[in-house]
């Protein structure tokens, strides 16, 4: 095994009381700070822009976006895939790393799960808006409707509804179950009657009984076990939205695992984007240590390489297939009208992450922050390239066209960042951003191991 000195995953010197205080104080006693207020204000303004863009879209119809035939899927589906991919890291951290006994996950799982929820919420809006008539979204659900119709089960778009719906529900349950003991802590530490009641209701009367803990623990592990294949399935199903169509550039069997890897890749980039400022701002360096950043970076590197392998396989197979449409598509991506986007994604997703090989870079928060941002841009661009370049050249040259996002496209995309950030800012103010009960357990174990 590696003989390198292991960075600690929680700084020494903490006990139950100090862990509890440090985490709950962020919510309960810390006054609203100018930094939080400023950030929230910006996020909220962006959210208002999002609402404005959506209201206009609903009023006018999706023609305000740049989509048309043949590029019927533009920003909306790109954003959808991007956001839902970001969500994956949360589940990966909270579920898979739990099953793998990776205890460094403890201090980041809560906010990573929150990130999942908010990202899925952002993601969910886009296919709904793209329906054209979002108000009849319930037609996607199987119920004995007045049409006598059922959803078309052979359509990946219906699979998507179930996959994303299940993902959101299970993530929410998983998150809430983990929160219940912490809500009880908040209830017991809150000073005002109002907060006590709010947290008290949400805590469901949790009293920390040993029997309860036992069932809680089993249920939590089971939920983790259930969430694990869900991580694989959700982005796989999203990928089949593309892959089961016979559009060159979409119809590729590697799409499911390749999308999953890309999802975790961009998700960890988002984790870092959030964790690095949060730990600094709230002085949580003792809980979110360099070790966490480094491990996340390693996951990013590994998944980045998988994504790179996907690009390679696609390129090789299109050549090997000897199919003129496949070959044309690949060349068109590289050298066609969208070539800058393609090379941007290659730079951001393949070249930039290689910096993580260097220990000096992967232990440097600022450096990682930049890399993470670039990866997020790269992964958005990747989905953009997949969606747009595959569509803009049809089999028939008469149907060729060029797609550009309109300002409404851009407003919805940037506005969705505002939605995400607003939810996240609120989350930081009202809920413990780190699992207190798990941290207590961890601190106790580390103290015992050290003794």
């Amino acid at each position: 095994m590696s003989t390198e000195v292991q960075e600690p995953i929680v700084a020494p010197g903490y006990d139950n009381e100090s862990v509890t205080r440090k985490i709950t104080d962020v919510v309960l006693t810390r006054p609203v700070h100018r930094g939080w207020l400023g950030g929230f204000a910006i996020a909220f303004l962006l959210l208002m822009m999002f609402n404005y863009a959506v209201a206009w879209l609903l009023y006018k119809g999706i023609g305000v976006w740049g989509v048309n035939i043949p590029v019927a899927w533009g920003f909306a589906i790109t954003n959808f895939v991007w956001w839902i991919g970001i969500g994956h890291a949360g589940t990966f951290i909270s579920a898979i790393l739990l099953l793998l006994h990776q205890d460094w996950r403890t201090s980041i799982n809560r906010f990573a799960e929150a990130m999942t929820l908010f990202a899925v919420a952002c993601a969910g809006t886009f296919p709904l808006l793209h329906l054209g008539r979002p108000w009849v979204f319930y037609w996607l659900l199987p119920y004995p409707d007045t049409m006598g119709m059922w959803p078309q089960w052979r359509s990946a778009l219906v699979w998507d509804v179930f996959a994303v719906g299940t993902y959101l529900t299970v993530s929410l349950i998983f998150w809430y179950v983990g929160l219940v003991p912490d809500l009880a802590t908040m209830r017991d530490r809150a000073r005002s009657k109002f907060l006590q009641l709010i947290y008290g209701v949400l805590a469901l009367g949790w009293r920390g009984s040993a029997r309860h803990w036992k069932r809680f623990h089993v249920a939590y592990l089971l939920l983790a076990g259930l969430a694990t294949p869900l991580v694989l399935s959700v982005h796989s199903v999203v990928s089949t939205d593309f892959a089961i169509a016979i559009v060159p550039g979409w119809h590729s069997t590697i799409f499911p695992p390749y999308f999953v890897a890309g999802a975790i890749f961009s998700g960890f980039a988002m984790v870092l984007t959030l964790a690095i400022p949060i730990r600094k701002y709230y002085h949580l360096e003792d809980f979110i240590t360099i070790k966490h950043l480094e491990n996340s970076a390693m996951v990013m590197l590994a998944t980045g390489l998988m994504v790179a392998h996907g690009y390679l396989t696609e390129g090789f197979m299109s050549w090997y297939s000897d199919d003129k449409f496949e070959i044309y598509l690949t060349l068109n991506r590289m050298f066609g009208p969208y070539a800058p986007a393609y090379w941007l994604l290659v730079t951001c997703n393949v070249i930039v992450p290689q910096a993580i090989w260097f220990k000096r870079i992967r232990t440097n928060p600022a450096g990682l922050f930049v890399i993470a941002l670039l990866i997020q841009i790269g992964m958005w661009t990747e989905r953009y390239v997949i969606v747009v370049t595959s569509l803009h050249r049809d089999f028939m040259t008469s149907a060729w066209a060029i797609f550009h996002g309109t300002r409404w496209d851009w407003m919805t995309l940037i506005g969705s960042l505002g939605l995400f950030a607003t939810l996240f800012f609120l989350f930081l103010r009202v809920l413990p951003a780190i699992s207190i009960s798990e941290m207590r357990d961890l601190v106790h174990k580390k103290a015992k191991a050290a003794a």
Partner: protein, 206 residues
Amino acid sequence: MRANPDRPAVRPYRASRAHMNNQSPTTDHQSPALHGVMAEFTQPEQLLSAAQRAYAAGYRKLDAYTPYSVEGLAEAIGFCKTRVPLVTLIGGIIGALTAYVMQWYSAARDYPLNVGGRPLHSWPAFVPITFELTVLFAALAAFIGMLWMNGLPRPYHPVFNAPEFKLASQTRFFLCIEANDPRFNIDEARQFLQGLNPINVSEVEK
């Protein structure tokens, strides 16, 4: 009331009102006003050994309250098997059957529709949703089953009457011998718990 870490660790014994009202709690251990006797510890190991000793002493209606999951504690108070996995499994099976039967019925029976020449009973296409609903139902079953078996939500519970019980969700570890234990005798129980070296023993009214 906010927990104060600087507060002295031991507080004087404070008789509950229930005890004062009832002249002979020792003879009437079925007293409806008494939930049990509660001891408070600072370390999980202390609680664990206290629980084991209480169980060994023959107490069965025991419960322990901790701010985090302490390994082996549930077993120490005689709670070994939980049916949460079974419920989850049943939920998963129901989910899988629901999903598959729903798809088969609607696509192959109720509205057979030829789409692209695919068979009406397109099992490969039915797999994703079957999987998703299996997970969804199993997760819901685990969640609801866990809450149900734990008797939650239950905002009011007698143990919250115990002094300092707010710390059970923060720093302290509690052991409660409940009054409905057939062996329960308030004085004995109090004496027994005092012998375990707690920082505090109190009676908990209902």
